[in-house]
Amino acid sequence: MLKNGIVLILLIVLIAYSCERDDICAASTQTTPSITIGFLSNENAQESKPLNITVYTKDRSDSIPFSSASSISIPLRTDTTATVFLFEKNPNNPAAAEDPEDVDTLTFSYTPQEVFISRACGYKVIFTNLDVRNRAGATRWIDDININLRTVENEDTTQVYISH
């Protein structure tokens, strides 16, 4: 009898150590979106115009390069109401035919809104009241900025168009 009891107590210890399954946030879930920016021709606003561009953070500590991109997706800061990016066209190419290496400073301002998704994904932030302002470089390469949608809540829509 006592032996059985000991076996049972050992089993209890084993059970107490058993693990629990964690939920995984599915990749298809819409979480915090990046902003999508499309590049258009300054001659024909219907025509997309790819370019080589590197996007830097304000202090140039980090960067995202894109080559021959007609559309780019970049993240916005979720903890502030504005994100400043340096947009460098034709990086490392001071002899480009059009707009040789030049930097424009773009400020994206918005209202971040926190939204609860699920247990596995937690909270996301979406952005409303989007506005973009340009502080142009020595030779301004951005001709025009058009805001298509002032709300960034998914990555299916291009929110901003830049013509160059």
């Binding site: 009898m1 049972l8 915090t32 926190e114 998704i117 937690g122 909270y123």
Partner: protein, 247 residues
């Protein structure tokens, strides 16, 4: 987990087997006595005394987990009362506190719960024994609160440093109601002292969750998953039977 439970079930059946062997040995001893008493022994076997009473106990697994797991505290008392040959009314009262330190949030849920229902003993006992292998239908209610201490905004793009937000939000007045199917055993270790084990399969019937968060845990129910109404749990108990009358 499933395999482990199957193993436990095998062990428990084995344990019951030993009990019955002991009982047979006892009968063997009785057989050696003079014939007159042997006939009376057969009579006892035909009309065995069955104990009726209140079995009250504590949940061992919750106590043990409270010691072993840093983010769990819990305790429960339970009891059952035999109302008919094979039927018992059973109830359990407990409280639990569980902390989740997950990558996307740190939160603690605590509260109390009550479960009540009917157990049906499917085990055919040898004379004079009162072990149980039972199936039970219980209804559980739980009242609890959740404290959200911090969370990180979920961002698949890790270009910027994670946006960790430290808050102290309390969501109180939360509740849950669920139905529970219990499969369990109660083995009489010593006279009137029982060791019990059970496996619980639950289905959430209704819950009140926070407006801008979710229920992560419900005391008595266990972990609450986001879009799944089913849950599972287990319990180990030690209880004492207070015999009130014999039949």
């Amino acid at each position: 987990m499933k395999i482990l439970h199957r193993y436990i079930l095998a062990i428990s059946v084995f344990t019951l087997g030993i009990d019955t062997t002991v009982a047979q040995e006892n009968q063997g001893i009785v057989v050696e006595e003079p014939l007159e008493t042997r006939s009376s022994d057969t009579l006892v076997n035909k009309n065995p005394t069955e104990k009726y009473g209140l079995r009250a106990g504590i949940d061992l697994s919750k106590i043990l987990r409270s010691f072993l797991e840093d983010n769990y505290e819990g305790a429960a008392i339970m009891g059952d009362f035999r109302i008919k040959d094979r039927y018992y009314i059973a109830a359990e009262i407990g409280r639990e506190k569980k902390t989740f330190d997950e990558p996307i949030f740190d939160a603690t849920t605590q509260g109390a719960y009550l479960k009540a229902g009917i157990n049906y003993n499917a085990y055919n006992n040898w004379a004079g024994m009162s072990n149980l292998i039972y199936v039970g239908f219980h209804l559980g209610v739980s009242s609890f609160k959740t404290n959200l201490d911090s969370y990180t905004i979920y961002n698949p793009n890790n270009f910027f440093e994670p946006d960790l937000r430290t808050v102290s939000r309390e969501y109180s007045g939360l509740n849950a109601i669920w139905g529970e199917l219990q499969l369990g055993i109660q083995v009489e270790l010593l006279n009137n002292l029982y060791l019990g084990m059970n496996l619980q399969l639950k289905r959430m019937l209704s819950q009140k969750s926070p407006d801008d968060f979710t229920n992560i845990y419900a005391p008595g129910f266990n972990k609450v998953t986001f879009d799944n109404v089913y849950g599972a749990g287990y319990g180990y108990s030690i209880s004492y039977l207070l015999p009130i009358f014999k039949k």
